[in-house]
């Protein structure tokens, strides 16, 4: 089952995807300038993420080490699905047509997307 990551948890995942495994202290120090989060906040988030299977914890060392269990691509795919179902009622074709109409997607981009889709069919 796909793991859903909240916006706040995503910030922790970004830190871990950059470099893992990391301790809670390292994660807090990395995020503190941007978010102002305390250790308690990071501990609470990590606990939730461990329970839902987004990260794993190795408590064999003195300081627990956290490693991501989902890749950035897997998490991105899940977020895209959520976004599509919110905005475009789950239809990727609507997103593509919106991007084409708004001029955000060039002919080359479209060709590449179609090539990928053709490749998947095969």
């Amino acid at each position: 089952m796909a793991v859903q990551v909240t916006e706040a948890e995503w910030k922790i995942m970004e830190v871990l995807w950059d470099h893992a495994p990391r301790t809670m202290g390292e994660i807090t120090r990395t995020l503190e300038p941007e978010t102002g989060w305390t250790r308690h906040t990071v501990i609470t988030l990590l606990k939730r993420m461990t329970e839902k299977g987004a990260v794993s914890v190795d408590d064999s060392e003195r300081a627990k080490l956290y490693t991501p269990l989902i890749t950035r691509e897997e998490a991105s795919t899940e977020e895209t699905h959520k976004f599509l179902s919110h905005i475009f009622k789950g239809k990727a074709s609507l997103l593509v047509s919106h991007l084409v109409e708004s001029g955000d997607l060039s002919e080359d981009d479209l060709k590449q997307i179609l090539d990928v889709m053709e490749g998947r069919k095969k």
């Binding site: 916006e7 706040a8 978010t35 305390t38 906040t41």
Partner: protein, 535 residues
């Protein structure tokens, strides 16, 4: 509590409030910039007050709209008009079914009409209304409990450090007692939660700068007591659950309270700060999922056209026109007082209202087998009855009038009404009388009232009466006890006898009143018969 009390309150409150809601919607659409969100929110408050307060002030003019067909003094004139109009509509519908020969529809609509007349429909509606109130309230309570439990589960920790200091400073600046603030994740937008011990839930994903904007906005909600306002909104929707305009007004007032907070937050801001605040609104919109209408929590999220309007307002700034806002406030307050003025004076009530019509009459127990559909059917039926009671052919002019589920037919001889009959569409006689001109001594006092009658004569009158009723009103003698003597009036050799037969079922308020003229050498004549009330 009588159903009339509920009926009066709901009808009056809804009519007045719906007019006000439509007016507010128009004013809001075209004069929103000039009026300002503060005045608009005040307007919504007045509407909520009307919707929830069962007060009724005396209004000497309101008596003029009391319908003569709404005789029950407990039902006030406005509600009475609604009842009469509804009954008229139902009667017309029953005519439609009758002409279409749809007996099922006709009987159903006739039952509804009878229910409106005898108030049993009102009692049923009151029960349905109460059930709706309880269901909607239960749903609100459930939604709120679920929301609160979810928020509690997602709570991270209270704010601390610099953010907490800035928040407390803001509260002091705005003259508000600080409430607890908790970081919560996930949370699409900040909200002020709770009624008696409110707190602010702040998204964990908000940056420190955005957090200040958001907290300022929520502090404004606290200052405006919007958490209490939310309770009023839900009460209005619960009590008036059947009125879609009330739900619409609740949604609009919620939006306006958000806009009002935007005004207060951005009032002292410079253009750069406004831009930053507008950015927070847009980001909130991207997350969607604001708390629903049934949840007691504020929510910054707005999307679509409303978001566009909101951002434009924030960026533009500007103040409302004071004179317009004050004029609106004064006029709206006066209209509110007028909206409560729905009661007649005590003197008007005593003067204008005949005996109440909510009694249960024997006519409910009787069902005929005739199908009297047209005026000519009604006249034919009346002629048959005349023939029976008078023993001679009618020489006068018959006229028939259709009423709700019944007919009344009169026969005039010259200028005088010689015969009157009131009966149901299926041929049950409710009221019959012969012209009392022939028996004017009944009313002019030229008689001797006596409570004594020879037993044999009395039994003779009774037996004859029962046989006659058996023919005239099939099934009646099964519903009544033996007729008892009420009084006898002696005039010459005639006796005018009033008998009353009580109903066997004590549910009925009145039985059969019968007036018989007895001449020992000539026999009996049925002068008057009444089932729809005491004689």
């Amino acid at each position: 509590m009588r159903s009339a009390t509920i009926y009066n309150f709901l009808i009056e409150a809804n009519i007045m409030a719906c007019i006000a809601i439509v007016l507010m919607t128009v004013l809001r659409r075209f004069l929103w910039k000039g009026l300002g969100n503060g005045a608009i929110c005040f307007g919504w408050f007045l509407i909520a007050f009307r919707l929830l307060c069962p007060l009724s002030l005396t209004n000497p003019v309101i008596h003029s709209i009391r319908s003569p067909f709404a005789a029950d003094a407990a039902i006030r004139p406005i509600a009475g008009q609604v009842k009469v109009r509804l009954n008229d509509a139902v009667s017309r519908l029953s005519d439609v079914f009758w002409r279409a020969d749809n007996m099922t529809g006709y009987e159903a609509v006739t039952r509804l009409s009878d229910g409106i007349q005898d108030a049993s429909a009102a009692i049923t509606l009151a029960k349905v209304w109460l059930a709706g109130v309880l269901l909607v309230s239960a749903w609100f309570i459930f939604s709120n409990l679920r929301f609160r439990m979810r928020l509690r589960a997602d709570r991270i920790e209270p704010i601390s450090g610099e953010l907490k200091e800035r928040y407390e400073a803001l509260c002091r600046e705005r003259g508000v007692m600080p409430v607890p603030v908790f970081f919560t994740d996930p949370l699409p937008s900040a909200c002020l939660v709770g009624v008696f011990r409110p707190y602010i839930a702040l998204p964990l994903s908000a940056s420190p700068q955005d957090a200040i904007h958001v907290l300022t906005h929520e502090i404004c909600h606290l200052k405006n007591r919007d958490h209490l306002w939310g309770v009023l909104r839900l009460l209005c929707c619960a009590v008036h659950w059947f009125d879609p305009l009330v739900w619409l007004a609740a949604a609009m007032s919620r939006t306006d309270s958000e806009l009002r907070c935007d005004d207060r937050v951005t009032g002292p801001m410079d253009p750069d700060e406004r831009k930053s605040y507008a950015g927070v609104l847009v980001l909130s919109a991207a997350r969607r999922n604001a708390p629903g209408l049934g949840v007691l929590a504020t929510g910054m999220t707005m999307t679509g056209k409303r978001l566009k309007t909101r951002v434009e307002t924030v960026m533009r700034g500007g103040k409302p026109l004071r004179w317009l806002a004050v004029t609106f406030t004064v006029l709206a307050s006066m209209c509110l007082v007028g909206a409560f003025a729905t009661s007649e004076t005590k003197e008007q009530l005593e003067m204008g209202v005949p005996w109440p019509i909510e009694e249960h009459y024997l006519t409910e127990a009787l069902h005929g087998n005739r199908r009297i559909k047209t005026e000519s059917d009604a006249v034919s039926f009346a002629k048959e009855v005349w023939d029976r009671v008078r023993g001679r052919e009618a020489e006068g002019r018959f006229e028939a009038y259709r009423e709700a589920g019944s007919w009344s037919v009169s026969m005039a001889e010259g200028d005088d009404i010689a015969f009157y009959l009131w009966f149901s569409s299926d041929g049950v006689i409710w009221d019959m009388s012969q012209d009392l001109k022939d028996y004017r001594w009944v009313t002019d006092g030229e008689y001797i009232e006596s409570h004594v009658m020879d037993m044999e004569e009395l039994n003779g009158v009774r037996e004859w009466t029962v046989k006659e009723l058996d023919v005239l009103v099939p099934g009646l003698t099964g519903e009544i006890r033996k007729p008892e003597l009420v009084y006898v009036r002696d005039v010459g050799d005639a006796k005018f006898v009033h008998l009353n037969a009580s109903p066997k079922d004590s549910r009925y308020d009145a039985g059969a009143s019968v007036f018989v003229l007895f001449r020992p050498n000539e026999g009996y004549t049925l002068v008057m018969l009444q089932l729809a009330g005491n004689g």
